[in-house]
Amino acid sequence: MATDTLILESNEQHPLMAEEPLRIRSTSLWKRFRKHKLAIIGMSILVVLTILSVGAPWIARQDPYHVDLKAYRKGPSAEHILGTDSAGRDVFSRVLRAGRVSLSVGLVAVSLYVLIGVILGGTAGFYGGWVDSVIMRFADMVLAFPSLIVIITIVALVGPSIYNVMLVIGCLGWPPIARLVRGNVLSLREREFVQAARASGAGSGRILMRHIMPNALAPVIVAASFGMAQAIILEAGLSFLGLGVQPPTPSWGNMLSDAQSFRVLEDMWWLWVPPGVMIALAVLAINLVGDGLRDALDPQMRR
């Protein structure tokens, strides 16, 4: 809770932090990012996964929804390179197709909460006073809920579906972003360049949008990339429990739930290893990219 603020406040007095504000300059950012070997590896994995997911119908020729009960849980063969599942559907094409679902859940959910977090955090930091108190206590409250339990409850109540999962993660994930933005806005608000803008007669809307936000957003990008990794794990977990994306739509999480049966777990690796590896790869790739972005955006943090 206030631990984050404590840390931020102590950072604000840190002599290193008193330097030029960090702006997102794309060219120098790319230069620094490129030096981060792991981040480049992550980026490459992510590009490959995206191509595989988007191009799924052309790469895997089998129909991921085609039920063939004669092909019940068959092992890998020339026709089905990763075998078939409990409804005789082709696992390979389902794994690829599931990538679309999982990646888009992550992307949409995180975009949603970043938007909410930036608006609320920016408002709280810029206006201060009671507006700040109300918003931040609200954030504290949302953070204090045992989130997974609240998420499964809401999803079960409104009905599990891909859109509800996006919406619920999106509506509950914003507090850390709001805190981050608020902290940055608070410290930026007092800086000379903002005061100069104010002195030259800029209105508060213009100051917020033109002078403060561009400087406050760099850490948000980093938080958003780690957030996306978490959202993908969360969606997979929910779908694994049967409370997320519903079959027949494939998602990496709901494909894994077959492995709750020990028979599948022990004898039919093709049903559970591929989707699990895909989740791990996607999440790892995104985490590596996030780490690279963090180092690239914050030169002081570089090792």
Partner: protein, 320 residues
């Protein structure tokens, strides 16, 4: 100091209040009725619907929302979290029965995380930029990236199904008198499934703060005094790194609480997570609400603890 703690407690009050209001709102939106939820099924059947109707009048259920909330809160404050729709047991009893196993799992996870995180973090810092450092970094990234439930399935596959070293489910063997050995063997797999991911942030923290620590003046002084390297590292540098770990552990509690839900389900661990999932699937709202409330209180308290410890440990943080 006392003032700081009181102030932090005061901040927690609106948070808890907000949580209870939204919980109550949710309970009243959910099918069923918040006050009949407070009656056990035996009471319901023996007293009959007329009595319930009367009671509803008497309790002021037709009164405005704040009054109804107040009545509900009064019951909650007295420890009546309502009764399960399914079994009819008091929710508080159900939770108390399940909280022990969950805490046991969480504590073991933390022990594993610390036992892995601290040595690996120190090693990584002392051998900065060596292949060990890179290996530890990559392992750390992998540990946070593999979802706990996939790791759990992998662990079950290897250690329970193929090697048959460890049991696949439960907290104790069926029909066996629980021994320490038996309990431990049931704990290992679920605790590792969660512990590896929890170790990663610790490694990261210990590494970076160790790197910072070994460049401090007091470490240089210790070296200049001619102390052995081992003594410099462990007695002087590491000591200051270790203290703030208490707060990191406290910060990780809420996330860990969420993590136990899925892992408990996979390992049929009789904790709050399995209770939560059965209640959600069975639409047992009073139980869900009870778990949410208790969970929120646990999280608020652990955050409070983290803040207070942070302030106690580091005198440079002022309590204003």
């Amino acid at each position: 100091m006392t003032r700081f703690i009181l102030r932090r407690l005061a901040i927690s009050i609106p948070v808890l209040l907000g949580i209870s209001i939204s919980t109550y709102l949710f309970l009243s939106l959910a099918p069923g009725d918040p006050v009949t939820a407070m009656l056990s099924p035996e009471q319901m059947s023996s007293l009959g619907p007329e009595w319930v109707e009367q009671q509803r009048e008497a309790l002021g259920l037709n009164k405005p929302f704040p009054v109804r909330y107040g009545l509900w809160m009064k019951e909650v404050a007295q420890g009546n979290l309502g009764f399960s729709y399914r079994g009819g047991q008091p929710v508080l009893d159900l939770i108390l029965e399940r909280i022990g196993p969950t805490l046991r799992l969480m504590a073991t996870v933390m022990v594993i995380a610390l036992a892995l995180g601290i040595p690996l973090g120190v090693l990584s810092a002392l051998k900065q930029y060596s292949w060990i450092d890179y290996l530890v970094t990559i392992l750390g990234f992998t540990a946070v990236s593999v979802p706990s439930f996939f790791l759990a399935l992998g662990l079950i596959y290897v250690f329970a199904l193929k090697l048959q070293w460890l049991p696949t489910a439960g907290m104790n063997g069926v029909g066996v008198t629980p021994t320490f050995r038996d309990s431990l063997s049931h704990l290992i797999l679920p605790a590792f499934a969660l512990g590896l991911a929890q170790a990663a942030p610790l490694i990261r923290y210990v590494r970076s703060s160790m790197l910072e620590s070994i460049r401090q003046d007091y470490v240089t002084v210790a070296r200049a005094k001619g102390l052995r390297e081992r003594s410099v590292i462990f007695r002087h540098a590491l000591r200051n790194v270790l203290i703030p770990i208490v707060t990191i552990v406290a910060i990780e509690v809420p996330g860990l609480f969420g993590g136990t839900v899925i892992i408990e389900q996979i390992f049929a661990w009789p904790g709050m997570g399995t209770l939560a999932i059965t209640s959600v699937l069975g639409r047992d709202y009073p139980v869900i609400m009870g778990i949410t409330l208790i969970g929120a209180v646990m999280i608020v308290l652990s955050n409070l603890l983290a803040d207070v410890l942070y302030a106690v440990i580091d005198p440079r943080i002022r309590f204003s």
